[in-house]
């Protein structure tokens, strides 16, 4: 009998279970959640022979170490990092067999922030509202990994991909975020709109899965007062009272009262998930498609 489970030997700074999230419940105050870099999560699933909806692990900076109780195929992608199996170097970005009882080490990211680890069969924790994602804003889904925790695995769905390596986007030195203005750009001065789209920002270390925080020139409001709470979207560039734009990521609140000056194109958000603190950020005005 095989024991399809994964022992967490080293949880890392913040490693969470993620899938494609739980959209459709925003009206109840439930964030969408899901992998911050969905392309990387989908790729490692494909490499490991999993369906796109399978749950993977999302690490933060320093990876994690795992010991499967049965032989599994894994794939590590997203932020590039060293991978070892039983202490021997193994491939990043390609299917790797980890024999039962051997240690898989996912090392510290050499570029970017978040690596993704798919294991054949997927992480099979109990779904909450149709998703296994950990939502750090509202606390839904399985808790972040802790040393010694045992994660159940599902049955493998198919054979791993027959590739040696799969191309993955690099991590750029500068984060370029294309934005369309609105819905509340009229709450800001013309100077603030110019500042947003012409001046340099940097990724702040205070960011998380809820939002990418920035450091840089404050954006000046054209009107005072409070905006009544309104619905928020993924990629919304919200401007809190300190004037520094925050880009909403997967665990963002579903409603909010600070004005949204612009919205980042969804295609540019996976790169935002990989931008390390200090990375230069440029917001580029883009027309509506």
């Amino acid at each position: 009998m095989t024991d399809r489970a994964l022992v967490v030997v080293r949880a890392g700074a913040l490693t969470t279970v993620q899938d494609r999230g739980r959209p459709g419940y925003a009206h109840l105050g439930v964030p969408r959640s899901g992998a911050l870099d969905p392309h990387a999560a989908a790729l490692v699933n494909r490499l490991a022979g999993n369906p796109a909806a399978a749950a993977v692990l999302e690490t933060t900076v320093d990876g994690c170490a795992l010991r499967p109780r049965s032989t599994v195929t894994v794939a590590v992608g997203g932020a590039p990092c060293p991978v070892t199996v039983g202490g021997r170097p193994a491939a990043w970005g390609a299917p790797v067999v980890v024999p039962a009882g051997e240690l898989l080490e996912v090392g510290t990211a050499v570029l970017g922030l978040r690596s993704y680890v798919a294991v054949s069969g997927g992480i099979a924790v109990e779904p909450v509202l149709g998703s296994r994602s950990r939502d750090l804003l509202s606390g839904l889904g399985p808790p972040p990994l802790a040393d010694g925790v045992v994660l159940p695995l599902g049955a493998p769905a198919g054979p791993p991909a027959r590739v040696d390596a799969a191309p993955q986007p690099g991590v750029p030195d500068e984060l370029v975020l294309r934005v369309t203005l609105g819905p509340r750009d009229d709450w800001f001065t013309a100077g603030a709109l110019r500042t947003l789209t012409t001046r340099a920002y940097r990724v702040s270390p205070a960011g998380n899965r809820i939002g990418l925080r920035t450091e840089g020139p404050a954006l000046e409001r054209a009107r005072d007062g409070e905006l009544p709470s309104e619905g928020m979207v993924l990629g919304a560039v919200q401007v809190p009272p300190d004037g520094r734009p925050v880009v909403f990521l997967a665990d963002h609140p579903t409603t909010g009262g600070y004005p949204v000056i612009a919205v980042v194109r969804a295609a540019d958000l996976p790169a935002a998930a990989q931008a390390v603190p200090g990375t230069p950020v440029r917001f580029v005005a883009a027309g509506r498609r």
Partner: protein, 208 residues
């Protein structure tokens, strides 16, 4: 509907703004009706204080012009279920709220328990509803210093809204009572006891 402004949000969302909370509830009910009958395809319909967000639209520009020309009912239909929440009016801020209203504590309880509320929208935490129904003169400010821990089931007031904390969390609302009702249980269907449009009455414990 006159007074409807549809603001584009990114490439595939619309923020539809109306003049009042009642209009937002009416618009929300109308949009849910359209989705149920199949004439509106959208991932999320998120009502809020004066707006309804439509996220995940194929053609937001077309819907924006349709909505500007559409006839949205002036008031929401009162077809939604009524949820009764048994409450002990024992909150630490009840006396302060009564003083703010200029009435006795007993009268404050009578006013609150005598009001039929509607869940205008949810947010802050899964299952946390913003309930409207109290006359505007009974609005109260948030506490100057938020509490670090408000217990689950706390019935609270802030601005024009009443809310019930689904679980223990920090909070700045004025606490007037406690209910043992389970507002959120993700293993239950539906998980949320209150969702936008639900009618709510608070029944003082001992009055049933």
């Amino acid at each position: 509907m006159s007074g409807v402004t549809a603001l584009p949000v990114g490439d595939d969302a619309l923020l539809v703004e109306v003049a009042s909370g009642v209009q937002a509830q009416a618009l929300h009910a109308e949009l849910l009706r359209r989705r149920a009958e199949g004439s509106l395809t959208v991932r999320e319909i998120v009502p809020a204080a004066r707006t309804v967000l439509l996220d995940g639209l194929a053609d937001p520009a077309r819907l924006a012009s349709e909505l500007a020309a559409a006839d949205v009912p002036a008031a929401p239909p009162h077809a939604r279920e009524l949820v009764e929440l048994r409450v002990r009016y024992d909150g630490p801020d009840l006396a302060e709220v009564a003083a703010h209203w200029g009435v006795s504590v007993g009268e404050a309880v009578r006013i609150h328990a005598g009001t039929e509320f509607t869940v205008a929208f949810c947010g802050f935490a899964p299952g946390f509803g913003y309930l409207t129904g109290l006359p505007a003169r009974y609005g109260v400010p948030r506490r100057a210093t938020p509490r670090t821990a408000v217990p689950a089931g706390a019935v609270a007031l802030a601005g024009p809204y009443t809310g019930v904390y689904p679980r223990s969390s920090p909070g700045g609302w004025q606490l007037i009572g406690t209910t043992e009702a389970v507002l959120w249980d993700h293993t239950r269907v539906p998980a949320a006891l209150l969702s936008p449009g639900t009618r709510v009455r608070f029944v003082p414990a001992g009055d049933e």
